[in-house]
Symmetry: C2
Subunit: 203 residues, 2 copies
DNA sequence: GTCTATAGTTTGATAGAC
DNA sequence: GTCTATCAAACTATAGAC
């Protein structure tokens, strides 16, 4: 098995770093090529255009979470357990791919309309799946919120905000545990069983 | 009193719209000028450079909140009351200046180092003030979180995330009320007085 | 304060040798 | 697949007439 990163992957990694630091439109093909150790023109042997590089990054950061993170929602368990598992994998995936995540959030408007639509579709699907597990939690009387979609948007904003400030030396286990707490026991106000419903707990 | 917007203000509004839509580096001086109804060269009678336009937008969206929003933290009241008031004014300010807010969040890296430092300083100060009122709430046994700074960052990510998706016809009163709930009764797990502490309520 | 005209760079992308 | 050389276009910013 070959562990060498392909040239294509090297380009994507260098471009993501560059786009994150300077912004997509400010970063030039020559700069990206420099980081990889080749000349600007050689990039076009691997990608048809600069926008296709951005699209590859954005697609990876939206399709992979849909295909991998969402699997934990299909396993057996209560809505609380399944959502907790999703928060865990979501934040860990974000932490491992922090710059790519930041770029795909921030540079969405730089994509062609067709590519942007594809990316947005994945994001909306992810959002709906989060909404659905929240709705299931409400029906199971585990969660105490009114509007599952609004809660899903808030929760995703909260988690994705991490990509703006996360540092490499940050303790991810601690981050995950805190954010599970903020979301499941906090925003969604997980009910406590015998102690009564959320209405008694709050206000 | 003159209610006409100055040419300078018209430029800022048009530029913010343009930057929000296309991104700072992609938006050209000609396009901004077109929106205002003048030629590109005329912009330089009002701003020394394109970057100064961005700086004016970013500065307005960081200095004004510090000078105005934070006033509510100095009024009398419990930490819960003061933080609730801050969430209210923060979200309303964000809603009124949505595109400027989005631009100043997203295009921070396009500022010169000196300008970026100034903007970041305001943001950090704002963050510290939020942290402080959370810390006061913990001491008063109103809030049940461990790390006030981490909670402050999360709360600001949650609120600022709104600028990515808010639409003009959104019901702001409802938004404020939901987010106060998410934050004060949710993330910070406001204690309930006689019913016992957060330890009893959660888990 | 706005205009026309343009300087001076830099950009994304292509052609063709090797 | 990488290189050198280069094109055409777009950019920010300036000069100078009005």
């Amino acid at each position: 098995m070959n562990t060498e990163p392909s040239r294509r992957d090297s380009i994507l990694a260098a471009a993501a770093e560059y786009f994150a630091e300077q912004g997509y439109h400010s970063a030039g093909m020559r700069g990206i090529a420099d980081s990889v150790g080749i000349k600007g023109a050689s990039l076009y042997n691997h990608f048809g255009s600069k926008e296709e590089i951005l699209y590859a990054i954005a697609l990876k950061m939206t399709r992979v979470p849909v295909e991998e993170n969402l699997l934990v929602l299909d396993e057996t368990g209560t809505p609380t357990e399944r959502l907790t598992a999703l928060i865990d994998v979501h934040l860990r995936h974000l932490a491992v791919n922090r710059v790519e995540h930041l770029v795909s959030l921030r540079e969405l408007s730089a994509l062609t309309e067709e590519h942007r639509d594809r990316v947005v579709e994945y994001r909306k699907y992810y959002q709906r799946r989060v909404r659905d597990v929240i709705a299931a939690g409400i029906r199971a009387e585990e969660f105490g919120v009114d509007d599952p979609m609004r809660a899903a948007v808030a929760i995703l904003d909260l988690m994705n905000g991490v990509s703006w400030w996360l540092r490499d030396d940050y303790d991810i286990d601690s981050l995950v545990s805190t954010y599970v707490d903020y979301i499941v026991d906090g925003i969604l106000r997980r009910r406590v069983g015998v102690r009564g419903g959320a209405d008694e707990v709050i206000r």
